[in-house]
């Protein structure tokens, strides 16, 4: 089983991201389960959403406390939430930032992980450019797909198109593709290093 935890704020689409990820995994013949931590809907409040992907049917119904991958939609959450709780040294990390992890104060935490499994992507900026709105969830899924290989970019894009109507869907697909390519580029840099 592969478990993903997504940290964001109300309005950033964390729950939608988990749902899209589950749809993408399902479309590729795997079993998946996505669910949010459930609170009253408030913009800006910390939100956590989860996604499990497995080869077998999933019957478990508990929150993910030991994720294999983390997607951080807003790194400022580090001041409120224990973002790295339960992640093992082999875990993956995708952080939405145009800055560096060190500058965000996440450098030490990220050191617990394999540096080749840690990427940053300026998802908010990418979304603003291609979607016209600063909603980083879909480009982060593109980044996640590139980093982990758990789902293909094509499956993510199909799920996005199915969920969002015409232009909104296509804009998000472009954003996912850009983020995906940026992460592949980062990974090539790691491999070269």
């Amino acid at each position: 089983m592969f478990s993903v935890r997504i940290h964001g704020r109300g309005g950033q689409g964390a729950v939608t991201a988990a749902e899209l990820l589950s749809v993408a995994a399902f479309a590729e013949g795997r079993h998946a389960q996505a669910f949010p931590t459930f609170g009253s809907e408030r913009t800006g409040a910390p939100v956590v959403a989860f996604c499990r992907i497995d080869e077998r049917p999933i019957r478990l119904h508990e929150p993910i406390t030991h994720p294999d991958a983390l997607i951080v939609q807003d790194p400022t959450l580090v001041h409120q939430v224990d973002l790295f709780a339960g992640i093992g040294s082999g875990g993956y990390l995708v952080v939405n930032t145009s800055s560096t992890l060190d500058a965000l104060g996440l450098g030490d935490l990220a050191l617990r992980l394999d540096p080749r499994r840690v990427v940053t992507v300026a998802a908010t900026e990418i979304a603003r450019e291609h979607v016209g709105r600063p909603v980083p969830n879909v480009p982060l899924l593109g980044a996640f797909a590139a980093l982990t290989g758990q789902v293909s970019l094509a499956a993510v894009c199909d799920a996005v198109r199915e969920r969002f109507p015409a232009e909104l869907g296509e804009g998000n697909v472009r954003a996912a593709e850009v983020a995906h390519e940026q992460v592949l580029e980062q990974l090539r840099t790691y491999a070269d290093a």
């Binding site: 988990a18 749902e19 996505a34 609170g39 999933i58 019957r59 119904h61 406390t65 709780a85």
Partner: protein, 420 residues
């Protein structure tokens, strides 16, 4: 067709396939996505021939269903928590009148303190309202139970409540095999009302009954509900034949054949329990699980049979009777009267607290090592220190204030739902 959808959407689609003619709805979390989706389906014409009433309260919702059912329409509503309690009077009325209404209950805690998250306090509070209560383990089962619920309700002319865990199931995207319209139509014939407000053949429904016949009318209600114990397995078998998968029925034994210790539970926690059972089996422990799909009527014979060879029964339930103890536990004890087994009542998962594999494992380890007192009521993952602190604090001063607020302050947190 298999698809990856939100539980609420899957249920709304299943209800649509059952062709309800009147839907009366009022918003309350976590049920709301279901009735929102049904509203869309009525407006787009996907659900044709259906009147959708946006009523002024849950009491109005079930009341409208009572009128609709009496007038010969297939009637449906959905609610949660406080909404179910607000319906309480009408719940008893619908069952007393014998009207085949189907309701989805997205299980949620009951306040105070106000809490929107999942537990089973709502269905348990209304367990004696005369409604059949079915509990879904997964979204697939929630879908299937709705199709079976209309069949059952209409064959016995009794109301049926399909209970599914709020948020845990309603808001979860899971894989669901949605039946086709043709399949459902073949399984669920149009409603043939057993009583009808018909100008061509006028009847009086809802007369006053005095001591001379009240007992007999109530006795008949009991007999009719007990008939569901025979009817449900038949419907489940037909469902399996028609849809190619097992769903519903009365109880769901999991690796109980040679189990010495059996965990009894209802709803979505069963999957988690089954994972724990598998792990412990791999380690050589003789454990199993018994899911209760039909809680009302209470399948005493099936429960007794499933537990006949167990020496320990651990009832994990998401509600309890304040001042008395376990509710499901009481029923299990009743069903196993005279059997040489020890039953443990464990309250778990109240107000959205997750019931995790780790906690269940600790619990079962305690049971196996005989560290748990079978005569006491246990609360899984109870923060004893927090309770002690508040008890200690409230001993001082003449106006100790509200407990809930004090305990949150002591925890230094807010009711965010982010508890893990």
């Amino acid at each position: 067709m298999r698809s990856q959808v939100e539980g609420s959407q899957a249920v709304a689609r299943a209800v649509t396939l059952c062709r309800p003619q009147v839907i009366a709805a009022y918003p309350i979390s976590p049920q709301t996505h279901i009735v929102e989706s049904l509203s869309d389906r009525v407006r787009t014409g996907e659900l044709a021939g259906c009147e959708y009433l946006m009523v002024e309260s849950e009491f109005g919702a079930l009341s409208a269903c009572i009128g609709a059912s009496g007038a010969g329409a297939r009637a449906y509503t959905a609610t949660s928590s406080q909404g179910l309690l607000f319906m309480a009077e009408a719940l008893f009325n619908a069952s007393g009148l014998g009207l085949p209404i189907v309701m989805t209950l997205a299980n949620r805690a009951i306040g105070a303190p106000i809490n929107i998250w999942n537990d089973h306090s709502d269905s348990m509070a209304m367990r004696d309202s005369g409604w059949i209560q079915l509990f879904a383990e997964s979204n697939q089962e929630a879908v299937d139970l709705h199709v079976q619920a209309f069949r059952l309700a209409e064959s016995l002319s009794v109301p049926v409540m399909v209970c599914m865990d709020g948020f845990v199931l309603t808001h979860a995207f899971e894989e669901v095999d949605l039946p086709t319209q043709e399949q459902v139509d073949a399984f669920l014939p149009p409603l043939v009302p057993q009583q009808l407000l018909d100008p061509d053949d006028p009847v009086t429904i809802g007369a006053m009954v005095g001591p001379e016949a009240f007992t007999e009318v109530k006795y008949l209600m009991h007999v009719k509900q007990m008939a569901a114990l025979d009817e449900l397995p038949v419907i489940a078998a037909e469902f399996r034949a028609a849809f190619g998968r097992s769903s519903g029925g009365l109880v769901k034994p999991y690796r109980t054949d040679d189990a010495e210790t059996v965990v009894v539970a209802l709803g979505s926690v069963l999957g988690t329990i089954e994972d724990v059972v598998d792990t412990m089996r791999d380690e050589g422990h003789c454990v199993g699980a018994l899911g209760i799909t039909c809680f009302r009527p209470w399948p005493a014979a099936e429960v007794r049979e499933a537990l006949a060879h167990a020496t320990r029964v651990v009832v994990v339930e998401r509600a309890f009777a304040v001042g008395a103890g376990g509710i499901v536990g009481q029923n299990v004890r009743d069903a196993t009267r005279g059997l040489p087994l020890e039953a443990y009542d464990v309250v778990a998962g109240l107000g959205g607290r997750p019931v995790t594999r780790a906690s269940l494992r600790r619990l079962l380890d305690d049971v196996l090592a005989e560290r748990l007192d079978p005569t006491a009521l246990h609360f899984l993952d109870l923060d004893h220190a927090l309770v002690q602190r508040e008890l200690e604090r409230s001993r001082h001063g003449h106006r100790p204030g509200p407990h809930a607020e004090n305990m949150l302050r002591a925890l230094g947190t807010v009711a965010s739902g982010a508890y893990e």
